[in-house]
């Protein structure tokens, strides 16, 4: 899988209230790459990540996935790409609080209509060291455990690219280190492309490449 951004800009609001969160950003990411995006708060890091992950559409410029411009793709096609090829990990985990860890991981598998989904979800949780927490709900788990559930969920459908927005931002240093080690091993062992938005210099240094974003522009 290869995603290319060509002079992508993103504006929010209209008229006098219009605000450019991202300006003429160009970059290329493929399976196996490990990229970190750093920059101050409000610099446009997350916007860049969301556009990379087809969660948001650019105002200007173009995004291509495997040479196919995404502006030609329907909601259904973009949803399928998010479901099958891209995994998301968020700073606030965004787990469904009414579901168990197993059900949270089962969710993307169910959406994809995967057979033996429970078995696969269980293996995914085992892979992140949570085989004893299958029946636990998010409120019964620590922040680090919740983030590991979110990673298991992101990897459930065996994506080509993992997009992580401040994955260690809500964790203590020990839990953050464990999550980071997990990302590194996933990149090395599975040839998984990883893009991490972070404030954490340790995380940024772990990546092969680091992009600096300032006032919506890639420095």
């Amino acid at each position: 899988m290869r995603i290319e951004l060509d002079r992508v800009s993103k504006a929010y609001g209209q008229g006098d209230a219009q605000f450019w969160a991202l300006r003429e950003a160009s970059l290329r990411i493929a399976s196996g790459d490990f990229l970190s995006i750093v920059g101050p708060s409000g610099s446009g890091k997350s916007t860049l990540l969301h556009i990379l992950g087809c969660l948001d559409r650019p105002t200007e410029g173009s995004v291509s996935i495997d040479a196919e411009p995404t502006n030609r793709l329907s909601d259904r096609q973009l949803s399928r790409i998010r479901r099958d090829q891209i995994g998301f990990v968020f700073q606030q985990y965004f787990l469904n609080p009414s579901m168990t860890a197993l059900q949270n991981v089962l969710l993307p598998l169910s959406l994809a209509g995967v057979e033996k989904g429970k078995e696969k979800a269980s293996k995914a949780l085992d892979a992140v060291g949570l085989s004893r927490k299958l029946r636990s709900t998010p409120k019964e788990m620590s922040g680090g455990e919740q983030q590991r559930v979110a990673i298991a969920r992101a990897l459930a459908n065996d994506p080509d690219l993992l997009l992580a927005d401040e994955p260690t931002g809500s964790l203590d240093s020990k839990a953050g280190r464990a999550v980071l080690d997990m990302l590194v091993s996933l990149n090395e062992e599975r040839d998984l492309g990883i893009v991490v938005v972070t404030h954490d210099k340790t995380v940024a240094k772990t990546a092969d490449t680091t992009l600096h974003v300032l006032d919506g522009r890639i420095a």
Partner: protein
């Protein structure tokens, strides 16, 4: 998809319970209305058939009120002189003409319908009674007053008569169960209606000539000849207008239920925007989200419909049975009513979920996640 709905429903038990209850109340009302209406219709049909006549001779007046009074066993204060009977019997094609005088009197101290007639009643009623003598007592009256064959009844209104019970009727599950049948002479004496008849039940020899016989009888002075089927149809028309009003009220209640459920679901979409955002981020299409909300609403509606049918069934068992023209009406239950109620519940589910489901499907994942 169903497990996702169930997992989410567990978190919102109170809201789910209220939505189900709202639908169940509307459906229960509809089910009870259908069951009771059918019960009243069947009861009326059975009572009119049980008269055993294909022409009803009534005094001048409203034929429907007079027929109802006859069925209920009350005096309508309009009468046919008993002198008219020979002329009635002499009309061609009249096979049996059964004179009847009815009214309420105190039987062993309890107000009861007294039905005065002759032994010819045995030719039109489907009873297993060999002879009509003394008093023949309906099963409900016998049970209520603790009567058995051989007892003597004290019947009193204007005059008092002592009459021995010769037979207690097997239950007919109609108004006959609530009557005390005595001779015409005893009834007229007790009710203070000497030589007065409430009605004459006529059975014709040839059914094909009934219309001409009815016409001949109808030309007699102070008498109107009415086919019971016409009375039934007219009474059903009257009842149908009442039923339509009730259905309209139930319909309004159901529409209110739809709007309430729609409001609940719309609020739920707002409350669940995090869940929707996550679903969209994980690759759920707009269509998936739309289907999820519609399916959830349908499931709630079907559960509400099922609960409503059971509640409606139980409610009808406790509602008064004497509704509808003063006749005993046992509710009629049918699989068709269950199907109608479930279809209505499903329609409620679909109607109330379309707008919220569209709103949910339109939710942009990034906007939702940005808000959180």
């Amino acid at each position: 998809m169903s497990w996702i709905i169930l997992a989410n429903a567990k978190k919102r038990k109170a809201r789910v319970a209220m939505t189900v209850a709202g639908i169940a109340i509307g459906v229960a009302t509809l089910f009870a209305l259908l069951a009771l209406s059918a019960g009243i219709e069947r009861s009326l049909d059975r009572e009119i058939s049980a008269m055993g006549a294909n022409i009803l001779l009534l005094p001048e007046g409203c034929p429907y009120e007079l027929t109802l009074a006859l069925m209920q066993g009350t005096d309508a204060f309009e009468h046919i002189p008993v002198d008219a009977l020979p002329a009635i019997e002499s009309v061609a094609n009249v096979e049996v003409a059964v004179p009847v005088t009815v009214g309420k009197a105190k039987v062993n101290g309890q107000l009861t319908s007294v039905y005065g007639t002759t032994s010819q009643i045995l030719e039109v009623r489907p009873w297993s009674v060999d002879r009509f003598e003394g008093a023949v007592v309906g099963s409900d009256v016998a049970e209520k007053l603790g009567l058995s064959e051989g007892d003597t009844l004290a019947i009193r209104l204007y005059n008092e008569r002592q009459v021995p019970i010769t037979q207690i009727l097997e239950p007919t599950y109609g108004r006959d169960d609530t009557f005390v049948f005595v001779s015409l002479e005893v009834a007229q004496d007790v009710l203070g209606l000497p030589d007065q008849l409430s009605a004459v039940l006529v059975r014709t020899a040839s059914v094909s000539d009934t219309v001409s016989t009815q016409s001949t009888l109808g030309r007699m002075s102070d008498i109107q000849a009415v086919p019971p089927s016409d009375v039934f149809e007219r009474l059903m028309e009257l009842f149908a207008s009442v039923r339509q009003t009730l259905i309209l009220i139930t319909g309004i209640a159901i529409v209110a239920g739809v709007l309430t459920t729609m409001n609940t679901m719309t609020m739920a979409v707002y409350e669940r925007r995090q869940e929707i955002g996550i679903l969209r981020a994980l690759g759920s299409t707009k269509r998936n989200v739309f289907r999820l909300f519609v399916t959830e609403s349908l499931l709630l509606s079907v559960v509400g419909g099922a609960v409503g049918v059971v509640a409606g069934f139980v409610a009808t068992l406790f509602l008064p049975r004497s509704s509808g023209f003063g006749l005993q009406a046992t509710p009629v239950f049918s699989i068709t009513f269950v199907a109608i109620c479930l279809v209505v519940a499903v329609l409620v589910g679909v109607a109330s979920s379309l707008y919220p489901a569209m709103a949910a499907a339109r939710t942009e994942p990034i906007k939702t996640l940005r808000e959180l």
